[in-house]
């Protein structure tokens, strides 16, 4: 699994405060803690609070880059802020995200190519989030075709079937699971399939239980990347166990410790 740590996000109060005060150490600590708990990449999101998100993104990226070389996921809906993050980021990076709408793809895929960045592409288009599996597959296929046109390697493409809060629509999670299975068959080699996990339990109680149960189910369908909270130990344990159960990692009596020693 490619674990993208979600904690550096201006939506969290402490992170927001750290951004406001330009508290570099707080951000760097959070980066290192996530990596220690098993994150492979780190998502960088300024949130909505920063007065100047373009500048704040560059500061965040540079601050994190001082302490780690892992790929950084530049997370923002605004093109200017994404560009600022990409330019500030030395080493490996990814764009999070483009939608499957034609205009977005034609803007962000060339940008990804130009910066040699990976890219997360959401299964959402001009008409919104599809109401069924077929709609998601149709968009995924369009994303794949465009990615090939722009010469994005499959290994750099992360397709996101879009996870919505289960509290709002209980048919959603099942559809996402089926979509994951279908996406894995769209190309050979297949693109990565990623979800933003925490959205699933938005507004619900027992959020962690919902998140880890779904993550294990999604791994069973072929999910190979997720944006999640690596500081949630039970969540990480469930993911590690799911990978062992799917024979994607070799079992040993110390399998949890082994994963964390990687």
């Amino acid at each position: 699994m490619i674990v993208i740590g979600e904690r550096i996000n201006g939506m969290f109060k402490a992170v927001n405060q750290a951004i406001q005060e330009r508290d570099k150490k707080a951000i760097q600590d959070l980066a290192l803690r996530q990596l220690q708990e098993g994150a492979d990449r780190l998502d960088i999101n300024v949130g909505t609070a920063a007065a100047d998100p373009v500048e704040a993104m560059a500061w965040l990226v540079k601050s994190v880059r001082e302490v780690t070389n892992v790929p950084l996921s530049i997370d923002n809906p605004n093109l200017g802020t994404i560009k600022s993050g990409l330019e500030a980021c030395s080493g490996e990076k990814m764009i999070n995200s483009t939608t499957g709408a034609e205009e977005a793809l034609d803007t962000l895929l060339p940008l990804a190519k130009q910066h040699n960045a990976s890219v997360v592409a959401l299964c959402i288009d001009e008409k919104g989030v599809p109401v069924d599996v077929d709609g998601r597959c149709e968009i995924a296929l369009r994303i794949l075709t465009k990615a090939m046109e722009y010469d994005i390697p499959m290994d750099s493409l992360f397709i996101d079937p879009i996870v919505l809060p289960v509290k709002a629509d209980q048919t959603g999670p099942g559809m996402v699971l089926e979509s994951i299975k279908q996406f894995a068959m769209l190309a050979d080699p297949p693109p990565h399939i990623v979800i933003g996990l925490s959205n699933l339990s938005q507004g619900a109680v027992d959020r962690k239980l919902i998140n880890r149960t779904f993550l294990a189910m999604a791994v069973g369908q072929g999910l190979d990347a997720a944006i999640l909270d690596p500081l949630d130990t039970e969540l990480m344990d469930a993911m590690i166990a799911a990978e062992v159960l799917m024979n994607r990692a070799i079992y040993s009596d110390s399998f949890l410790a082994a994963y964390r020693q990687k």
Binding site: P189, I250, S252, A258, Q261
Partner: protein, 321 residues
């Protein structure tokens, strides 16, 4: 639209383990050997690097072998019983790049030699040859735990490869190797899950992964080689896929296992239709070796000089790009 080449992109690579220390490094070896380092499946040079060729170590026993057939004894007839002379002959006459000293004589049932006697043998062999040395215990935990630390101590600085550590007996040897700067062989009984577990246990003691070699147990040709092969293959796939706990070089007991087979050891008189024993046995050993090379073996411990020569030539061919 560009067509992507069907190459695997591996995220991991096998650790490179150096055995032997030259005088600059505090030892007395003429050269060192490096095991492992592969970033692709065996010999797929078009896909990734195989920086170090597999190494053949010739087996030397501390005592007269009990069950070696005549065809195997013959090349060593004049030196058997003197490990130092035996080792020197392997290096000078048979071109051994490395020696594996097997301490069979410390086994309670086969001589019960003491730790001090074993240590003297280790010193004598180190003096007699200038290639890197592996030291292998007798597989009786209590005895190994007494003898191997003593051997480790007298060989300190030579960066030997010492084995074996097992799931339920790894602490003593790991501590000794750590203290004396040696590398360690981690053994498991043809079981990939235990193989990984031993590696984890040893590394949790703070022993560095780039000083570990694993011995997943070897099956000889016709006698379980397929099990050994598939376990090695699966570990290597995991290693290349990023499983660091499996990303250590692999050692195989080729000679020991091949010469257990009746096809290797039957005399010409016993099996006239199988061809002359002096060719058949070495061929059985060589076939076992070349099969295991394809599974990703990094160190082959072998016995018969003809088999060794054949396999060394074969490795040279495989390493050509």
């Amino acid at each position: 639209m560009a067509v992507e080449e069907p190459r695997e992109k591996w995220s991991g690579a096998v650790a490179a383990v150096r055995i032997g220390a030259t005088s600059e490094e505090g030892g007395t070896r003429r050269g060192v050997v490096t095991l492992g380092g592969e970033a692709t499946l065996p010999f797929l040079h078009f896909e990734g690097a195989t920086p170090n060729p597999p190494v053949v170590a010739m087996e030397v026993l501390d005592v007269k072998p009990q069950d070696w057939p005549e065809a195997l004894v013959k090349p060593f007839a004049d030196v058997i019983g003197s490990p130092a002379d035996w080792a020197a002959k392997c290096v000078k006459e048979y071109g051994a790049e490395m020696i594996c000293l097997k301490l069979e004589g410390i086994h309670p049932d086969f001589g019960d030699r003491s730790a001090d006697q074993a240590a003297e043998t280790v010193k004598a062999v180190l003096k007699a040859v200038d290639v890197p040395l592996a030291i292998w215990g007798c597989d009786v935990d209590e005895k190994d735990n007494v003898v191997l630390p003593r051997c480790s101590e007298v060989a300190a600085g030579e960066r030997c490869l010492i084995g074996t550590a097992k799931e339920d007996n790894y602490k003593t040897l790991t501590a000794a190797c750590m203290a004396d700067g040696h590398s360690l062989i981690a053994e498991s009984p043809l079981d990939i899950n235990i193989a990984k577990q031993v590696n984890i246990l040893v590394s949790e003691m703070g022993f560095p992964l780039d000083r570990m070699v694993m011995y997943p147990t070897t099956g000889g040709l016709g006698y379980g080689i397929d099990y050994a092969y598939s376990i090695q293959e699966r570990s290597r796939l995991a290693a290349l896929g990023g499983d660091r706990m499996m990303a250590v070089p692999v050692v195989c007991q080729v000679g020991q296992e091949a010469w257990r087979a009746k096809e290797a050891k039957a005399t010409t008189e016993e099996a006239p239709l199988w061809g002359p024993a002096e060719q058949r046995g070495p061929m059985w050993e060589a076939m076992t070796a070349v099969t295991l090379l394809q599974a990703g073996s990094d160190l082959l411990i072998m016995r018969h000089p003809s088999a060794v020569a054949l396999v060394q030539r074969f490795i040279k061919g495989l390493m050509q790009r």
